[in-house]
Symmetry: D2
Subunit: 341 residues, 4 copies
């Protein structure tokens, strides 16, 4: 059985393990004060083209989301998210557990548009009987594989700015977004257009790790307190730092994401050739083909994947995810199997 369920079924890119071994016995300060972290941050600042950003390394996406949001919102403030957004759909109420409402918006493609924001602001206007919207949360790539175009992100950023809303971008799969064939955004664009974003490591070659980037240093003031308070500050911060040092020193991060995307698109092409359609228009490493249930059953004998949504009595959408570690032979085998069904 080969696993297409997610992009964290394997360990880390070998470069990371190699660096862990090389540096293992070199004494370092704890709690994120190690020299590998300093190096990794310098490299990231260059790629982001903003020497003033403040960067911190955390362990996972839910942790990152709950800490950023609870740190930046006051008690009566709320965050707006697509209903498919990770903070709304898959984090066990992590944001609410810190005291904040997540205002959800229905979307077709997992992306928020200025009209969505304006509608939410209207619904939450009856001060003080409703929460005060203060942040917009988006994901790129989204949880359903789509990506933001530069013009879309620019419009959204302008809308946020004119409504005094912080724009926070969840980049759990930012590498996959920025290397998608229809992408026209750069890491520097992301940094310029958002207030805060994070660069996901876990789903793109790291053992663990997400890099929070505060594009406006003022927002990051005192952030270390909250890292510690929420249990996110690793004693051996070097472990997190080394993930990003290795992933970014030679653009490995983008190479790995590009490979994952290519694997997904290879399968997507085969799906299209076979005459099947998709639930969402993904150009990244998560695809959602709509297949006959009989086909799904057969494939499920050899491959692990999620049946995502029933379409009708005969059809269902499945989710297939590829990663930097996906074996191209298995992708080819899957395509062969699909063609024969």
């Amino acid at each position: 059985m080969y696993n297409f369920k997610n992009d964290y079924s394997e360990g880390a890119h070998p470069h990371i393990l190699q660096k862990l071994i090389e540096t293992n016995l070199i004494q370092q300060l704890g709690y994120g004060e190690d020299e590998y972290g300093m190096q990794a941050k310098e490299i990231l600042k260059e790629k982001i083209k903003n020497p003033n950003t403040i960067i911190h390394f955390l362990s996972g996406g839910t942790q990152t989301n709950l800490i950023v949001i609870s740190f930046l919102l006051r008690v009566h403030e709320a965050v707006i998210s697509a209903k498919t957004g990770h903070i709304s759909a898959n984090e066990t109420g992590a944001i609410e557990a810190t005291g904040h409402k997540v205002i959800t918006v229905e979307t077709n493609d997992g992306k928020l548009k200025p009209t969505d924001i304006e509608k939410a602001l209207q619904e939450y206007a009856l001060k003080p009987h409703v929460v005060k919207p203060r942040m917009v949360y988006i994901s790129n790539s989204t949880e359903i594989g789509t990506i933001y175009r530069k013009s879309e992100l620019e419009e959204l950023a302008a809308c946020c700015q004119s409504n005094n809303l912080l724009l926070y971008l969840d980049g759990a799969r930012l590498g996959h977004a920025l290397t998608a064939k229809n992408n026209d955004l750069t890491l520097a664009d992301i940094a310029r257009l958002t207030d805060i974003f994070y660069i996901g490591g876990t789903k793109n070659g790291a053992l663990l790790g997400e890099a929070i980037v505060f594009n406006k240093p003022d927002l990051a003031l005192d952030f270390e307190y909250v890292l510690k308070q929420k249990g996110a500050m690793l004693a051996k911060g070097r472990l997190l730092a080394i993930q990003f040092l290795e992933l970014f020193k030679d653009d490995l991060y983008f190479d790995l994401a590009k490979y994952a995307n290519r694997m997904a698109m290879k399968i997507a092409d085969a799906v299209k050739e076979k005459g099947f359609s998709f639930l969402t228009e993904s150009t990244t490493n998560q695809i959602f083909p709509i297949l006959p249930k009989a086909v799904i059953e057969k494939l499920a004998e050899r491959y692990l994947f999620y049946v995502w949504k029933e379409i009708n009595d005969d059809l269902a959408a499945v989710r297939l995810i590829t990663s930097w570690a996906t074996d191209e032979n298995k992708v080819d085998a899957f395509i062969t199997d699909l063609k024969q069904l």
Copy 2:
């Protein structure tokens, strides 16, 4: 400069790195459902001598403490801790941030006794104008290097039971406690006498990782939800599992702790020989010699350590910590330097 500031200045024991490499590309389920975790839990249950325990792996001590305590207490309930306890002194209000008061007790040796508990219960008796004490938090070894004797833990456990208090033991340095020369407790004793405890990996050879042990399975019901909600569930749970698999499959955990203790005691013996005293009676890998300030200044030229507490105009206590990775040559050099001063 050699670092005696803490026991997390280096990476992981080589066995762990080796296992990470060996297993790196083997696909595993995410979120703690990997086979290495299953194996590690089986080994731990055997050592604990209780097949019914429920075990979960987390990333760090503060994270573990805040999740266990907020999961088990109801909104009006509080936890009793020594004032030196990590949750009181060093976790940036992590417990309060989850809504719970930490009732603190002054102690000489960092350990709680039944009389401390009873006094706290009396102070918090005026229902409903005060919180309801519901849990007792202890550390073994304590934050000042001391350990619980079996009789002490038995008496405390009995006191907790008769007062309907949960007993939770923070084992960030449990290995060092259980291998101290004056220890008479076993891992199975700890499991028998507490309701919940955790086995610290980070400070004893792991890259990261603490293993929570619920000795009463009922207490663990639904715990996975809270792991996810608080951002503690790593996508690649295999990373945590492998730390404990390697540390416990051959008693490596105890060997490493014993070594760390031996290094500390070697320094302690030299301190005593030199005629200096100690702030606390530590038998584990943290020692607190009281030294002339002139001596401290000299040592500080070659070694990193914390000046812990001023004693008087001439003397101060310092904290020296050793670990599984401490270089015995550096220990010897330190002793030589100390003797010459």
Copy 3:
């Protein structure tokens, strides 16, 4: 300008003020231990036909909701509510501020049905990546004036029981529900079919006050702590107690609600006669006529009310609320004005 905006524009029923005066200088114990509270609770227990209920008096609806819900839910648990439910729509994220997600369900009539619950349970099944539904919140009458029929409440209660969900009924306008012409529920039915409910005083003749009823005494254990902790325990609890003592000693509560309903129905009848329709099928003291905007504008010159929802370019729904204190002459004047438009 006469105010039909809400049912709390006036003070209290004169009996309550009279009793406040009569008892003013009689010394009483504080914090809810006064004798008026004892008396009021006895009367309520009789009407509820359950001597074992535990009753507490609070100041307002949002306070009551947030305290009950945060007291009864564990950190990973959530409450299901209609989207129109007060906790979802009008309490400034009060429930989320205590750490709990409100799972919302779209409804036509503001009422939850077993199918709504089952659908929510399916959506929140992927343990541990989503919260655990543990409570169902309903209002009777609802925020849009509708009421539960006995059979409906029985079915909902059975559904909750079989799914291990607590059923909590917000009775901010319970009097109006139980005296509506199409009602077939009694206070004792409410107590039998729910786990917890509250009897609203503020909107039915009290200066302030809601009476929480725990139908299962075990659920109420330690509740006093949380009353105090959340700032809901009045030093002069007698103030709250006297509201309920006066409202319930002679069924004044039901008489006042019946009057309010009658005033609303009088207007509703005139609306119907005039050929206009309604947004919701209310039989209680809140009605939502759909009127031509020109008519609304004219009425707004003499009466205060909310324009609730735009229907189309010509029509909008307004909300008119009556109360125990509504002046029937003003109701008649309103009807006359409406007829002439």
Copy 4:
């Protein structure tokens, strides 16, 4: 049995009840938008001598404390309080329940001094491993009857300002403080020297009610949201407004407090005459005589009061509280009884 246990054993001053009756059927806007509130706020602003203050009315002291503190602190910030402070000693962990640590300081007289603050700042300096002190909480009069002198408050205010700490004064018994014989502070001084304070109504003639005063309007921005969110916004806000309107329109507030103080001092003088001492040097309406246990037992046959603290085998301190409603005849009877023992 006559009750000296507290200052909330009776209802309200008759003027308040009278005003409630007079205004009962006049329609008003809800949620604090009523005209009585506007009037009361104008009167208070004049007495405070600051037309820019923002004032809100709440129901009780714990509610006020928890809302002010949780509104003004960020998640990693903490409040410093005397150990005897109400938020530390008597509010069931209300502050911690909002996520914030209360840093406590031992005092002899219940008052905080600059040296206390500086010591606390030193103890909480190890960023980010400890919380960040951001507010100082004091009470005037204190929980043990003492009051701040103008010079003391000035020094404390200066210390707070130079350390970027907000100064918040709990005035549950502010009337008693400002009318004590050794007082040299005015309401305007309090407003000038603190950032936020509240004027307690409940313990000085109101049915309920505390008036929060934000001396710096910026601090109050958005405060209404939190009032609603925490369940503190009464639908019939007129009830709270009328308390303050009546208490302040003719200095009734100060007259009532002065009377309460005079009653307490009358007893205190008798205690002194009899040769007994006091636990604290109170000049307000709470006194703590140290009496022989035999005397206490005898008095307890006719009077209700708290035995506050055991002094030794023979002696204990009791707490006696008087109020605006205390019957001078009963005070005289108590004195007579005391003299005869």
